[in-house]
């Protein structure tokens, strides 16, 4: 596409791949397409990545570069803070956000984040099993919120998103009112997120509240 005006590099390739994912969906992220973007033959990428999986892994890893781990405050506030921080990074590239899930325990930055979160939860009295589950759920919650946001429709790129959403809305609107009164009542919220900040706050709260309830049970049992 564009003529070679710059050398290839892993970070540049990853960045461009993330942009393509957001613009046209992950299906558009192919070795050949990426090569074309850099004005280079497909096989050139194999010098920088062993294979496509390694490219996807690098894309996943990239999210953990910019996650600030909070050190102060009560444990539940810190848990909320990591979850919110994860949401923030993943939101930068919704189309590729799910790639982060498989990489938490497979890159240094992800491991650092995990270690800090684990330490916090263990110190608060959670068992190893609970700790693993809670930390996994925190990441999963962040990824789900970003990926499943109504109106995000992350599997299609930002190019075709509007028509996909419009089609979905039309399909819902055509539903029989007698049978699906509540679905129709919720139609707006199901196809569009009116207040994004509120949406993410709600989702993170739901998770943290659940953990807090569990925490209270754990404390109650240990006192008994």
């Amino acid at each position: 596409m564009s003529p070679r005006n710059t050398e290839l590099s892993r970070p540049d390739l990853v960045e461009r791949a993330l942009e393509i994912a957001d613009a046209e969906g992950m299906t558009a992220v192919t070795v050949r397409r990426l090569a074309k973007e850099f004005g280079v033959t497909p096989m050139a990428l194999y010098w920088h990545f062993a294979n496509k999986d390694e490219l996807l892994a690098a894309m996943g890893d990239s999210f953990y570069d910019s996650v600030a781990l909070p050190a102060d405050g009560a444990w539940d506030e810190r848990l909320r803070a990591v979850t919110a921080a994860l949401v923030t990074t993943l939101r930068r590239h919704p189309g590729a956000a799910h790639l982060a899930l498989a990489r938490v325990l497979s890159c240094d930055e992800g491991l650092d984040l995990s270690e800090a979160t684990f330490a916090m939860l263990r110190a608060e009295g959670f068992s190893v099993i609970e700790t693993a589950d809670i930390a996994r759920t925190a990441l999963q919650t962040a990824a789900s919120l970003v990926t499943q946001e109504a109106g995000a429709e992350v599997e299609h790129g930002s190019d075709k998103r509007d028509e996909v959403i419009e089609a979905k809305r039309k399909a819902l609107a055509a539903l029989p009112v007698e049978r699906y009164p509540n679905v129709l009542e919720c139609m707006e919220c199901l196809t569009d997120t009116a207040d994004e900040d509120e949406y993410y706050r709600f989702g993170v709260d739901l998770f943290v509240d659940g953990v807090r309830a569990l925490h209270d049970r754990v404390r109650a049992e240990s006192r008994a």
Copy 2:
């Protein structure tokens, strides 16, 4: 592969596709592969499905055929029951479970389930936005639990799963103890789910407890 001993049909194709997904991962589910399984040319499938997306949609829809919607009990017990019921169906085909997410509001059975769940939440005083978010989270929670279960490694088929998990365990075990003491302590839980029932109970509880906490807040505010 096998010679044509039976006619092609949508349900048979879907069933076989789900089996392939579990055995070898979703990447193995291709039009050509599926055709080969039925001893038929790839284009034969295009009589039964408009395209591959429609096949994937039908796979996703299939999960909602067997979800029992509970009618009695307290609202939180019913919410727990739907979530658990979702877990149960999705667990039948972990490799394809994520396909159910995009289809809740796009097939009759999914819509029926949604309508019943929405009605229950609305009757309990949740707003339309809260209702939509909670219902979405219930499904997402179920899917995540199934997909992210330690030792499930759903993206690789059941054939290569063991070596992938072994590799992951080895990588974690090689980590420096000074830097990752808590990760190492949790290693077992991160690579294997010791008690599956407990794992799912924990995950569903975490979600329902979160909703209950929210519910209490809603009630407290409406009284004020």
